[in-house]
Symmetry: C2
Subunit: 292 residues, 2 copies
């Protein structure tokens, strides 16, 4: 299968950095990403502007980006108010957000997992009525900063429920970047028993240094082909000052190419997209870009 | 097998950084590393002080470190003059240094590969007469900055010759950090056909972001158990400004522990050893040390 990359820098990346980026720069950043060959760009989040000031310009960004017809433009939607906003600017794909950890879910979105699933059931229903694609995130799918290791069974059960609601895919998030390659194998072994591979996206953070090994296992042993990543590894970890966040798109794409995967992302364009923001890249590949 | 870690920070790490570190700090650094559980410490290099001023205090360092009887203290030796110096301070293990690329070898040590092998044959002979352990490095064993991809056969032939000379082990160096997991599989498949596993050490650099995936493949698929690494990922890449160098000992050890390897290195001690130098760590694990 051709690799499917969702570039999450504009949302998951920017959400986790302090510097406020102007709307113009975000638009320029996303326009450049649109030319890179990534399959999907997570543009923003329709959460309350008070919750995440960095993303309060979601509508303006959506209205002003140049849409490439080969790219899906998605956004996070926490509730029906957010969904209305997203529909008003014709977002292609609606993403909802729950967690495999009760404690994390309560702290993050102030709902139990069950409450969040009930809420998202309706959001997914309305989204589908509007012919939108849908995604559900399951964050802290491996480890929770409060609860520690999360059981595979728990993730599996939440995933099944979300699929019953009709979501097109589920992004399995290693939110704190602590999953090991063995954890990845264990979880995928459980999920893929009943869930077909095109429904599974892996969302790795590099915090503990194992993300690239995790991608390797997922791709080589399970043929997983959908991955989330951010240009330059944009983002951080709210639980560890100075720690790195999302796996960098250019590092991910580079390794996938080197191990024979079918991936058509232009690494140079990813690296130059990040340059627009004036934020230092955390990737490996950006440092050797002249040697590629 | 128990994992065997050679901490190369004091030599390969420091050799590639500009800041001159005082002899006292090096000694303190090495003494701290000696308490960490690493099996071997590459203390310095007996090259010409003009070639590498950072390591010109090799004798003084060796004379003043506290030797832990469970640790092997090694040094690089480029020629017979260097060997004399090394023997004068009772180095435990003598390491010689060639390359799998003619061009690299010429530029690096001003000899053809064959010339270097002839020279090292004698150094290894004398070392063994002095009951010293010996190691040979084969650098640029995957890629050369001048010649590109290196054929597996070439590395294999050089390795066989070095083993004929009687070296105890061969460190296979991905000097520019460009090997992919597939390259690692290809080379190990060739080498392990005729060379027994205890003779093989892998020496990865993180420059292109694939070192952790490479370790994963080497350990899981081939049961390789000897690795080189440097505290804090100390070192850089002389071929790319700002790029990272050696795989960090704490990142390597952390992942190996997480995938079930038998490794007894104290990560906290590795991280605090680097602190002595006042050089910023390039590792992932140092940033989350409070969360371990």
């Amino acid at each position: 299968m051709k690799i499917y990359i969702t570039e999450v820098g504009p949302r998951d990346g920017l959400q986790n950095i302090k510097e406020i980026i102007s709307t113009e720069k975000k638009i320029e950043f996303i326009n450049k990403l649109s030319e890179s060959g990534v399959d999907e760009i997570e543009v923003s989040s329709f959460v309350s502007p008070k919750a995440i000031p960095q993303l309060s310009d979601a509508e303006e960004v959506f209205r002003n980006i140049n849409r490439n017809k080969n790219v899906i433009y998605s956004a996070l939607v926490p509730n029906e108010k957010g969904l209305e906003r997203a529909l008003s600017v014709n977002v292609d794909k609606i993403s909802v957000f729950t967690s495999a950890s009760e404690t994390f879910n309560l702290k993050n979105i102030n709902m139990t997992i069950e409450e969040s699933l009930n809420k998202f059931k309706n959001i997914i229903k309305i989204s589908k009525e509007h012919k939108k694609l849908t995604r559900a995130y399951i964050s802290t799918a491996f480890y929770c900063p409060y609860e520690g290791k999360i059981e595979e069974k728990k993730v599996f059960q939440i995933a099944l429920k979300l699929l019953e609601f009709g979501v097109d895919e589920i992004s399995i998030g290693d939110t704190i970047g602590k999953a090991s390659p063995d954890d990845v194998r264990n979880l995928l072994s459980v999920l893929l028993k009943e869930i077909s591979i095109e429904k599974i996206v892996l969302h790795f953070h590099v915090t503990y240094g194992m993300a690239m090994a995790n991608v390797y296992v997922a791709y080589k042993e399970f043929s997983i082909y959908k991955f989330d990543s951010s240009a330059g590894g944009l983002g951080g970890c709210p639980f560890a000052v100075g720690a790195r966040g999302n796996i960098a798109t250019e590092d991910l794409v580079y390794m996938l190419k080197r191990i024979g995967a079918n991936v058509n992302v232009d690494i140079l364009k990813i690296v130059s997209a990040l340059d627009i923001l004036g934020i230092e890249s955390q990737s490996y590949i950006s440092k050797v870009i002249n040697l590629l």
